[in-house]
């Protein structure tokens, strides 16, 4: 078994310490960082994503695998930056104002990182202005807004309006998601997309950055 396969399988078992050690080994063996990213970490997360989609595994397994992914990704990030490796895209993510529910949003972040995107996670309780400020500061091309409560959904509309008011539409897309959110709501507020679950959100973001 190559070290890359070993990392991918270890990641799927949620072994964060071991993934860290193995990635360090691979770096020392001069395996290119992009190779480790694509053929070990992202390959492992892709299996996790598919198993989750089929509900062969559940949120706890995804969270453990994600922790292992981050253990490896944290080591690779400086190398990827040094080598000037282009990532799939940059996404600013957060749960809207007054929303402390962030499991769904975290899951989207995990799946996006697992698909090769750079994610700037603003956490929960994020007001509209901070989403757009962060997207501008980081040069992101997509903002992902999550809400779990119907009462906080209007903030999504405020994000879309602020993007337009600053003349960023066309360069900066807004995608929305969360339990009470629907495709109809996304269209109503003029968002660029709606992800009905984490895997679907990744597909939509992929389409938006093309």
């Amino acid at each position: 078994m190559t070290v890359l396969t070993e990392i991918a399988e270890s990641l799927q078992r949620g072994e964060d310490d071991r993934v860290g050690h193995l990635v360090r080994d691979a770096i020392e063996q001069q395996v290119p960082a992009l190779d480790i990213l694509n053929n070990a970490l992202l390959a492992g997360m892709s299996v996790i994503g598919e198993q989750f989609r089929l509900r062969e595994i559940f949120l706890p397994d995804v969270l453990l695998a994600a922790r292992a992914m981050y253990a490896g990704l944290d080591l690779l990030k400086p190398l990827l930056a040094r080598d000037g490796v282009p990532r799939a895209g940059r996404v600013v993510l957060g749960s809207v104002q007054g929303d402390l529910h962030d499991i769904g949003k975290n899951l989207v972040g995990i799946m996006l990182e697992g698909a090769g995107f750079e994610v700037i996670d603003l956490g929960s309780d994020v007001p509209a202005k901070r989403f757009v400020d962060a997207a501008e500061a980081h040069g992101a091309s997509v903002i992902g807004v999550s809400a779990l409560l119907t009462t906080t959904m209007p903030v999504m509309k405020a994000v879309v309006e602020l993007v337009r008011a600053r003349g960023l539409n066309g360069r900066l897309s807004v995608i929305v998601g969360g339990a009470p959110v629907s495709d109809a709501w996304a269209r109503e507020i003029g968002a660029d997309g709606y992800g009905y679950d984490a895997a679907n959100a990744v597909e939509r973001v992929r389409a938006l950055v093309k």
Binding site: L59, L63, T151, T152, M153, S182
Partner: protein, 302 residues
């Protein structure tokens, strides 16, 4: 407490059907609770609002009225800097409902999730969370509740911690525990991957007297869930469904399931042997009135 009230569990086991209440959050918002504001603050600042809602549900025919303490565990209150007032928050909620219903309804103490993932999936230490549930439930029990209602749980470990905390902190009070399931391509599971069979086993072992499901994706799905509960448990089953998932109607967000629709489906739940029936998010006193009618009709037929 009157004689008939002392026998909540006996009544359920004898085949009585008991009607619970509906949503509180939407009614609190209609009375000025702002988005993002923790609902439990009302307990300390405007308890007369709680009395008003409790009376509405009582008048609609609810025999169980819930306290506004879903987020009353110290872990949850800490997010708003209110954990130091855990006892006061919980006591005030019980006292307000009791003032409104007297001995005409059971007072059910709501206990929701702590709001954190337990280790190793998150940062919460199970021992801390258990101690927090005990603290909340001790305050609820000492204020004189008739039922502890542990609800909207998705993690079986956390749900079991809460049930055990209830057994320890309020040993004489019956405990109901309900979890929230999603329909997946492989059947019903909570978001944390708990099946109905596992829920029944874990909650029963922890000492819950009444089992079931609340919240969720509408009452039709609850029929399948109730059927599975019945197949693997002989304890009383409680179902408190959302009025569907909210939909966009013009500028407003609306829970789609009308009282008559829910009542028609509730008849099937009763046939399956569900003995405690009420509502969750999006249900109103009108929904409870409709459920009451269905339950009364059934009693008349018998």
């Amino acid at each position: 407490m009157t004689t008939h009230m002392r026998n909540l569990l006996d009544r359920l086991k004898a085949g009585d059907v008991i009607v619970g209440d509906g949503a509180w959050g939407t009614l609190l918002m209609a009375r000025g609770l702002k988005p993002g504001e923790p609902p439990e603050t009302v307990n300390l600042t405007r308890s007369e609002v709680l009395e008003e809602i409790a009376r509405q549900y009582l008048d609609a025919g609810a025999e169980i009225v819930t306290t506004n303490t879903f987020g009353g565990s110290p872990a949850r209150l800490r997010q708003y800097g209110l954990d130091g007032q855990t006892e006061a928050v919980n006591r005030a909620a019980v006292e307000a409902v009791r003032r409104a219903v007297g001995d005409r309804a059971y007072v059910s103490a709501s206990v929701g999730p702590c709001g954190h993932l337990l280790k190793p999936y998150g940062d919460a230490d199970p021992a801390d969370i258990a101690a927090g549930f005990e603290r909340q439930i001790r305050a609820l029990g000492a204020s004189g509740v008739d039922l502890i209602c542990i609800e909207t749980m998705t993690d079986l470990t956390e749900a079991a911690l809460a049930v055990r905390a209830a057994r320890a902190a309020a040993p004489d009070v019956p405990v109901m525990a309900t979890m929230t399931f999603d329909k997946t391509c492989r059947g019903f599971f909570t978001v944390m991957g708990v099946s109905i069979e596992q829920a029944v086993r874990g909650l029963t072992e922890a000492g819950a007297d009444i089992l079931g499901s609340n919240c969720g994706n509408g009452i039709e799905i609850m029929i399948d869930i109730a059927r599975q509960f019945r197949a693997c448990s002989d304890r009383p089953i409680a179902i408190q469904s959302n009025a569907g998932l909210p939909e966009q109607r013009g500028a407003a967000l609306v829970y789609p399931e009308e009282p008559d629709f829910m009542a028609a489906k509730a008849a099937t739940l009763l046939e399956l042997g569900v003995s405690l029936i009420g509502g969750c998010c999006g249900t109103s006193p009108e929904h409870i009135r409709a459920l009451r009618r269905v339950v009364d009709q059934r009693t008349t037929v018998l």
